[in-house]
Amino acid sequence: MPHSSSLLRVARRLSSDAASAEDLVQETLLHAWRNFRQFRSGTNARAWLFRILLNAVYAQSRRQRAEPVTLGISSSAEERLPDFTASGMSEFDAADVARAFAALPARHRTVLLLGVVEGFTCREIAGILSLPVGTVMSRLSRARHALRVQLSSAAKCAGKGAS
């Protein structure tokens, strides 16, 4: 099915378990098939699919009354950006980044998955999430910041990323 790999990859990072993620993608593809008349020809079909997926994710969260995962960092920690350099950052491996990413709130994971991993523009993300472009841009900045704070914590434990 078109885009099912991308959809499943994102769903896995936003839902509680692998089975739920598959259910969400299945629901998304079937919804798209049943409501294909709603798709406006000439617009971005991939963005349309992700919009359906994100709506399904939100609906599932509401059903499960899931509390979003919170980062739990203090305001002072937010102001102090970790001071490692770009070359110091490259010491982190995929597992370090995956752990730090998993600890982020869902809204941060969502924009990073759409913008950084799936390559949607801020304008496209705004369409997918029904948010103003400015909100998407500030949310992306905060999400990148939060990821660096998480990596900073990991770096302190493992002695990585120092400049």
């Binding site: 099915m1 950052m89 500030s138």
Partner: protein
Amino acid sequence: MTCKEIAARCPAYLSGEMEPESARVFAEHLRNCRACNEEVERQITLDSLLRRSILSEKVDTTALDRTVRAHIALERRSFSPRWLAVAAGIAAILLAGALSYRAMFASPPPKLCVDAARDHRSEVTLAQHRRWLSDPNAVADLGQRNGIPASLLAALVPPGYRFEHGKLCRLGGEVFLHLVYAQGGAEFSVYLRSSGTQSLSLQQVQTGGEHIAYVRTDRYTAMFVTDRSSAAALSLARSAAPALIA
């Protein structure tokens, strides 16, 4: 542009959405401001790390795709108003000739039909593809080697359909040529074999969700399998019957 504006507009710069003039001013600021330049470099590195981390995860959607296709096939044949209308139309057209087939409708489904329905479901509806031949000439050669002339294959294609692919398969211990034809998203199967029997009959059967028109002439056994309706299967068989009898 101030350092604060650079920070605020960095996401648009990184996603390549900045207007050319703004991008030029942004890049110029980075050349002259070491702190902003290093900050943007860190963000680019972080994005690259995140992308590599997430994309390194293996994602297998085989089972998921199969489930979705099966749901779509099921809904298509159960709820499509368009096909219900087509089936109703075909049924109305066939009404006049239905009496002559009534006795045959009551016949129990031959085991071959059950096997054909199962094969159609796994190979076409659920798309558990084996090795298909999509080159019509290669399929024609395959048919020739199994006693089925190319002219018959050409004559079997109903108006509006196109040949998709074919292969040999074994049903009830006998080798059949399995052909798949499509019209838009709808597909049907024809299972065909050259036979030496002297009987001539046409049966319409339903087993599971598939509708089958079973045709036996003095030279061929053919089964037309579709998910749509009994009327559609019968229509396909009637369309091909002259070629099978000739």
